[in-house]
């Protein structure tokens, strides 16, 4: 038995890894993931700087607007100075304190960074920069907005992106721009006006604006604590060690989803190839059907493990080679999260989820392939399966903001989603009965799917059943509906 399974698995595995598509996936996936992660940053950096003017008496509005526009850059600068404090809630370091104080004193972000001493950080360029208004009336400024006339900028003469007219008193603020799709500046202008409205209301109530500024400076820190902290070093204070299991569970759920999504196709294609090449009879007179299925599932599992192994090895090599280049403040939290992946309480259910989830989806795709002679035929049945596989991805997104959401709790009891959602729920101090219940459900569902899949596979491989027969089988399930099949 073992020998038959091994031989089938070995042949299939070598068949997969010798295909150029495997190598393409192996090499391109990390590259594409890196591109996907970096894309927002690149998109932001590739945006040209846009120049706008504020026409107002004084600089109240433009100052607030400038602060709104630079909010993200300030946060990035703060993160670069002290990631442990910004991400994990630790006490701020000296550099961060200096940066915040310098910024409070009215200095620019660049100046504050210089004073805090952070030469390694390259601040992303500003998306919007204010320039002196070239005119003060709408008619006079229109040629600048249309590009007929140019304003002076640090990059040389350029068209004006927008002009904001802020009247004195209660008049309406007018935002003029020829670009009606990029609305970032418009949204920030509205936010700036909201801030100013608050100030006006406080002033009208006799509250000194300086008091508001003091209020924000004298805000007491809110320290997050828990009765059972992960690390005793900081007492009851919540640190990255407490959050790491959750981040690790998200990472593992995503990896499970990604692996299943990427490798089950191998089973589908491999089975279609065998059916279209009419190999089943030769195989079935040499190997028992369950052994053949086991071999096939093992082969693709081995492909998945190969991909994981190579990527893990590549990451380790890169981390070792480039480790020194990563800021210790960022390296620390990353290693804490990665360390949580090895936590037995998380790893064991995760491994079970991975194996059972893979078996469940693998068996479904295997059965599907046995019914199809061509990829075109398979595609008619693929759509509902792809949709089914996309749902856990959305659930992972929901769980990132609230892993204890009732939606996640309910959906985790739907067998096809259990493997992904159980991992996400483990760090939420799940009762033991629920973990056991979900594991039993997963095992039972996997066995049922395997049994059903082997019957479908037999129908396809031995009796030549096709995609058209699926409709007849469902027809048989409808009470009162007779099928000829």
């Amino acid at each position: 038995m073992i020998r038959s399974i091994y031989l089938v698995a070995r042949r299939d595995y070598l068949g997969y890894v010798q295909a150029w598509g495997f190598w393409l996936g192996l090499l391109l996936t990390p590259l594409l993931l890196a591109v996907a992660i970096m894309a927002p940053t690149w998109a932001e950096n590739s945006q040209p700087t846009r120049y706008y003017a504020v026409i107002e008496s004084g600089d109240t509005f433009s100052t607030v607007l400038d602060a709104e526009l630079n909010e993200n850059r300030v946060e990035m600068a703060r993160l670069s100075l002290d990631p442990a404090s910004v991400m994990g809630g630790a006490e701020p370091n000296e550099a961060l304190v200096t940066f915040d104080e310098t910024l409070q004193s009215g200095a620019s972000i660049e100046e504050a960074l210089d004073r805090a001493g952070a030469p390694a950080f390259e601040l992303p360029q500003a998306g919007f920069v204010q320039v002196p208004a070239p005119a003060t009336t709408q008619d006079a400024i229109t040629p600048y907005l249309l590009g007929d006339q140019l304003v002076d900028t640090p990059e040389g003469p350029l068209p004006l992106f927008a002009a904001i007219f802020v009247p004195d008193g209660d008049g309406e603020i007018e935002y003029w721009s020829e670009n009606v799709t990029a609305d970032t500046l418009l949204r920030r202008a509205k936010a700036a006006e909201r801030t100013l409205a608050e100030r006006r209301i406080f002033e009208s109530a006799g509250v000194d604006p300086a008091l508001l500024s003091r209020a924000s400076q004298e805000t007491r820190p809110v320290t997050e604590r828990r009765a059972r902290p992960a690390s005793s070093e900081g007492g009851s204070q919540v640190t990255m060690a407490d959050r790491a299991p959750f981040y690790a569970s998200v990472l593992m759920a995503f990896m499970l989803w990604f692996l299943i999504f990427s490798v089950v196709n191998y089973l589908l294609m491999g089975t279609i190839e065998e059916r279209s090449n009419k190999i089943f009879d030769s195989l079935l007179t040499s190997v028992k059907l369950p052994h053949m299925l086991a071999g096939k599932l093992l082969a693709v599992l081995a492909v998945a493990l190969t991909l994981m192994g190579v990527w893990a090895l590549g990451t380790t090599i890169l981390a070792t080679a480039l480790g020194d280049m990563i800021d210790p403040g960022i390296r620390g939290p990353i290693f804490t999260v990665l360390g949580s992946v090895g936590d037995f309480q998380l790893l064991l259910p995760a491994l079970l989820s991975f194996v059972l989830g893979y078996l469940m989806y693998g068996a479904i795709f295997l059965a599907l392939g046995s019914l199809c002679d061509t990829i075109q035929e398979a595609q008619t049945l693929m759509t509902p399966l792809i949709v089914m596989l996309m749902v856990p991805m959305f659930m992972i997104t929901v769980a990132i903001s609230d892993p204890e959401s009732p939606l996640i709790a309910v959906m985790s009891w739907v067998p096809v989603f259990t493997p992904f959602l159980l991992i996400l729920r483990i760090p939420t101090v799940l009762p033991l009965w629920e973990i056991a219940g979900l594991l039993v459900l997963m095992i039972a569902a996997s066995l049922l799917v395997l049994w059903l899949a082997s019957r479908v596979y037999r129908a396809g491989a031995v009796h030549g059943a096709g995609v058209g027969d699926v409709g007849k089988w469902f027809g048989k399930l409808v009470p009162g509906k007779k099928s000829k099949a």
Partner: protein
């Protein structure tokens, strides 16, 4: 002496309302070459798939080496399915070796055997070529070699000659004889009678899912009956002349009449009777019996019987 390699006992297989094989009983004795004959759709492949345990019979029993087909007994069997197929991306050598290993051969032994067989079939230089690069005939040879690489005791070949050119058909016939000499029992299905005539010790004929004949070649020719072909001058009615003497004329082609010989009567008696009747004889030839004629005759009878049964059933339904 061990059990017969294959015994089917009253085996029936239905697909929905269609009965593909009906009450088939047959045996393949050890060391024999048995031809499994029948027109397309006669139920040959279904019977072979049942013999191998790929399909389960709805009724009856299959014994392969004395037991129900199982992986252990199947190790002694080599099977060439009717629907040819190989892994297109594997090399010829790896393919043969893979199937031999599935049947229990060691890796080294299977590779050695693959090389040896490929060399013998003139495919030595293509041993490391992918199957997708081989011609149809070459691929077919590779599949045949895959079925016999593990030196099975029992070789089941489903339509082995289809798709092969005459040279390769001859090569395959030689290989079957060689395997038989080695000691293998062989069962092969075909609808080309000449191969069966040349190779088989006995034959089983199928038509419309039923067995219509099971016996030796001599018995098959006997079933057809002996005949002589007598040519006479135009206008002479040989049928009218010989009928009173107890001869039956069942075919006529121009002026050549086919006269069936009743039991105990030989060709000379028929010639003498014709001369006595004053027939102006232009030619005389004892008919050489061909398996094809036996086949056509038996299949036609089976089809006619089916038609009769179907009409009777229809009539019964209408009356009811």
């Amino acid at each position: 002496m061990g059990p017969a390699p294959l015994e089917l006992d009253a085996v029936t297989k239905r697909f929905g309302s269609f009965t593909a094989v009906r009450d088939l009983t047959m045996s393949v004795p050890k060391g024999s070459i048995v031809g499994f004959l029948g027109p397309n759709g006669a139920g040959k492949s279904t019977s072979l798939r049942m013999a191998l345990g790929v399909l389960s019979p709805d009724e009856g029993k299959v014994n392969l080496f004395g037991a129900s087909p199982n992986i252990e007994s199947l190790r002694h069997v080599g099977f060439l399915p009717e629907e040819r197929g190989l892994y297109k991306k594997m090399t010829a050598r790896a393919t043969i070796s893979y199937f031999a290993r599935l049947k229990g051969m060691s890796a080294g032994e299977s590779r050695k055997r693959a090389d040896e067989l490929l060399e013998r079939m003139g495919l030595g230089e293509f041993a490391r070529a992918r199957v997708s690069k081989l011609s149809k005939g070459m691929s077919q040879k590779v599949q045949i070699l895959s079925s016999l690489a593990h030196q099975p005791d029992f070789l089941i070949l489903d339509e082995p000659f289809s798709g092969l050119d005459p040279v390769n058909q001859q090569g395959l016939e030689d290989m079957i004889i060689e395997e038989h000499k080695r000691g293998a029992t062989i069962l092969f299905s075909t609808h080309v009678m000449e191969h069966a005539e040349r190779l088989c010790d006995s034959i089983v004929m199928m038509a419309r899912g039923r067995k219509v004949f099971d016996g030796t070649l001599d018995e098959a020719f006997g079933a057809l009956g002996r005949a002589v072909l007598i040519g006479v001058s135009a206008g002479f009615d040989l049928d009218a002349a010989l009928k009173p003497k107890g001869f039956e004329i069942n075919e006529r082609s121009g002026d050549v009449w086919r006269v069936r010989l009743p039991a105990g009567v030989d060709a000379q008696d028929a010639l003498r009777a014709a001369i006595d009747a004053g027939a102006p004889i232009t030619s005389f030839r004892p008919e050489e019996a061909r398996l094809r004629d036996v086949f056509v005759s038996l299949v036609s009878e089976a089809e006619a019987e089916d038609l009769r049964q179907s009409l009777a059933a229809d009539t019964a339904r209408k009356v009811a």
